[in-house]
């Protein structure tokens, strides 16, 4: 075993030596970290597609230097994300790392970034609030938005346009849905709306019958933040109980898989409102072009780029644009490059994106409503665009932080 180990070390040393000899001309190494294994492989692969699209747009070159992509995989757990980041940074010696995919991974990678001040970390699609609000890292940038931002303006739309005043919440019991609920409730409560009860169901719950039975009857609508298969389970059980209050959905709830799922829930889903960083059916030419490029590049891709592809694309685009601005200069602890990132006004398929002083995105958010396409299918139609949503949802940072991070009980407005 030792002989094997040593020979591999020797090989690694050789490779490293060879790299150092040609230091001046060597390409910039870009690490791509996503979940390429396990049940989250589908979003992870779409994230990598996002990186590829950005690289393709720049011809795999930025600031006059070639960009080499090295990918690594996690299984959506923070441990595996740190392991994969370590491999990319310490073994493959990437200059810039794009990733990871999910919220708790993002927090772990941000902490890891602190130990490696010479590498710049740019987010993939992770959307936890704390990553950039709680003890942020100087070298971690996020050009995508967080969970609370995704729901900005949804509460206002629900209250004013839809006339919902009393709402109950059903969501999975962990940090990401907490922040979605916070994004929704911030507006909704301020206007006078009431969230009468919140049902946080433990992760991994499949049988929602009892939760359904507990939902009060005297509500105007139900806010649901469950992902993928859980959403399908919940919806079919909700309907079987004979209930049909209108739905307000978290960004992850009404995705393509739910809209396309086989089942008897189609009629019920129509009229559901939701909000998020992208809208599949937006008719803006830039977005349409992005979608078309995606479809051309990937035969095995999803029907339309997911928000994971979009987030990885936007973040990689920021990296490449900033590299162009500084002519590929990564010297001096990547200082010039980071300044360029900080001051970027990034043109993306979903509008202009910049980052705040915590290096978190300020971006547009789309409010959509599910409508029937007339052929038996369903799609999300854009009903409103909320411009320039920042991480503190318009509040000053200290006031926002004083309210505390989203949790089971925060915020509340019974």
């Amino acid at each position: 075993m030792l002989r094997k180990l040593l020979s591999m070390t020797a090989a690694a040393a050789l490779v490293a030596g060879a790299g150092a000899a040609t230091a001046d001309e060597h390409p910039i190494k870009l690490g791509g970290l996503a979940t390429l294994e396990g049940p989250f492989a589908v979003p992870g692969e779409d994230g990598i597609r996002g990186i590829r699209m950005a690289l393709e747009k720049f011809g795999h070159e930025a600031g006059g230097r070639e960009i080499e992509l090295i990918t690594a995989s996690s299984d959506a757990s923070p441990d595996s994300a740190v392991n994969a980041a370590r491999r990319l940074v310490e073994n493959d010696e990437v200059d810039i790392l794009v990733g990871p995919l999910s919220g708790s991974e993002g927090i772990a990678v941000k902490d890891y970034a602190k130990d490696h001040p010479d590498t710049t970390f740019v987010n993939g699609s992770s959307a936890a609030q704390r990553t950039t609000l709680d003890d942020p890292s100087e070298n971690f940038f996020r050009f995508s938005t967080d969970g609370a931002q995704w729901q900005a303006g949804l509460g206002k739309y629900a209250y004013e346009e839809k006339g919902y005043e009393k709402v109950a919440v059903v969501a999975e019991d962990y940090s990401f849905p907490y922040s979605l609920v916070m994004g929704f409730m911030t507006d909704f409560c301020k206007l006078g709306g009431q969230v009468v009860e919140k049902f946080y169901v433990p992760l991994g719950t499949r049988d929602y019958a009892t939760t359904v039975a507990s939902i009060p009857q005297d509500i105007d609508a139900l806010y649901v933040a469950l992902g993928g298969s859980d959403a399908i389970n919940f919806l079919s059980q909700y309907q079987q109980m004979g209930s049909a209050k209108p739905m307000i959905a978290g960004s992850i709830t009404v995705d393509q898989s739910v809209l396309g799922a086989k089942g008897q829930q189609r009629d019920y889903l129509a009229g559901t409102i939701t909000a998020g960083p992208i809208a599949d059916n937006w008719d803006d030419p830039k977005w349409v072009e992005f979608k078309e490029t995606y479809a051309e590049m990937f035969d095995d891709g999803l029907p339309s780029p997911s928000l994971f592809a979009h987030a990885y694309y936007v973040n990689t685009l920021a990296v490449l644009t900033a590299l162009d601005e500084v002519d590929g200069d990564l010297s001096n602890g990547q200082q010039a490059f980071r300044e360029a990132l900080q001051n970027l006004e990034l043109e993306t398929p979903t509008g202009t994106i910049s980052v705040d002083e915590n290096r978190n995105a300020v971006a547009d958010i789309f409010i959509t409503e599910v409508v029937k396409d007339g052929e038996g299918g369903l799609y999300n139609e854009v009903v409103k665009i909320v411009p320039e949503v920042n991480q503190t949802l318009g509040l000053p940072e200290d006031e926002f932080l004083a309210n505390g991070f989203a949790s089971r009980d925060n915020p509340s407005c019974p």
Partner: protein, 342 residues
């Protein structure tokens, strides 16, 4: 097992050396020296991610080997015990306890938990033990996932660092590797020693024939529970090192995946000798890190499952068993060739 190592005892050296040193061979020294110089020639990544991590997972595997190899109890809760110690270090660290108290507290509470698990499962045997410890592991996973005030639910704890003792930054690759190597080395020698003490021998006898041991007046349950306690100490230490290495701990760190991983790497290496889990850990970690270069990473689980299946089907004693077969084959060859240099 004891009978195997006893065979190799060197009769000439025996009188001067204490019992537990008698099995020492020249290649043991070579391995020790190589382990010590390894981080000096390897990169930081190879030192920590491959080297230290193999040692740590090997240590947790060693605690399983102690239970399964010597005690005949295959416990799936060893990673859970380790995870509890890791969580406690994070929690006590946040409460800013002094370093020594933090470590003693974490490892001893984890040991108490291990004894409790042992007490529940020792009354059962064989397959029941596996199922009960698996269920306990999953229960612990759900507990930390749901509990906010103590375990910080889904997020767990991040930014966990080893305390600065003697002015050394134990997080840096070299100090961390030597810390791990020293601690794991001591634990390894301890298990070797333990296997030849009266307790260790009685434990192995309980494994082979509990009924006879009971009729000889040995308290079978007490031996099993005590073994869980000792294994708990080892796993607890492993858990502390693991949380320092990862810098964070969350429910995913103690989920069903890592729990099964410990079983896989221990069986992969072999349950017959304490070195087995370490061999298994090295193979497992190399595969985990570099399988992506050889095959599609997406099918990593198929590969690891297939390797595991092949080992279990054809060499129940793991890689050690293969080595044993190879050695006896070589011995036969050399005997046939009458080579005397051996």
């Amino acid at each position: 097992m004891a009978s195997i190592t006893d065979k190799t005892e060197d009769k000439k050296a025996a009188p001067v050396l204490p019992v537990w040193l008698r099995g020492v061979r020249w290649y043991h020294a070579v391995v020790a020296v190589l382990l010590v110089i390894y981080p000096l020639i390897a990169t930081g990544f190879w030192t920590v991610q491959i080297g230290a991590q193999s040692l740590i997972l090997g240590l947790i595997g060693l605690s399983l080997m102690l239970l399964a190899g010597y005690g005949g109890m295959v416990s799936l809760s060893q990673l859970t015990v380790a995870g509890l110690a890791g969580y406690l270090v994070a929690i006590f660290g946040n409460a800013e306890w002094p370093a020594w108290l933090m470590l003693v507290g974490a490892v001893s509470l984890a040991t108490v938990a291990a004894v409790l698990i042992g007490w529940i499962s020792a009354r059962t045997s064989g397959i029941y033990t596996i199922m009960i410890t698996l269920a306990i592991s999953v229960a612990f996973y759900y507990l930390v996932l749901q509990n906010d005030p103590i375990f910080n639910s889904f997020n767990g704890f991040s930014g966990v660092r080893p305390p600065e003792v003697f002015g050394v930054d134990w997080r840096a690759p070299l100090p961390f590797f030597y810390l791990t190597l020293g601690v794991v080395g001591l634990c390894y020698l301890f298990v070797l020693y333990l296997s030849r003490t009266p307790f260790g021998l009685a434990l192995q006898a309980v494994r082979d024939n509990p009924r006879r041991m009971a009729s000889l007046g040995f308290n079978v349950t007490a031996h099993r529970v005590a073994a869980h306690g000792v294994a708990g100490v080892l796993a607890g230490i492993g858990g502390v090192l693991l949380v320092w290495q990862n810098g964070q701990i969350s429910p995913g760190s103690v989920g069903i995946g890592p729990v099964i991983d410990i079983l896989i790497l221990t069986v992969l290496g072999g349950l017959a000798h304490p070195v087995g889990p370490f061999i298994g850990a090295v193979i497992f970690i190399l595969m985990e890190n570099f399988a992506i270069d050889l095959i599609d990473r997406e099918r990593f689980n198929t590969v690891i499952g297939a390797v595991f299946l092949v080992i279990v089907l054809f060499s129940p004693d793991g890689v050690l068993g293969l080595w044993g077969k190879l050695k006896s084959w070589l011995a036969r060859q050399s005997a046939r060739n009458r080579v005397d240099q051996w």
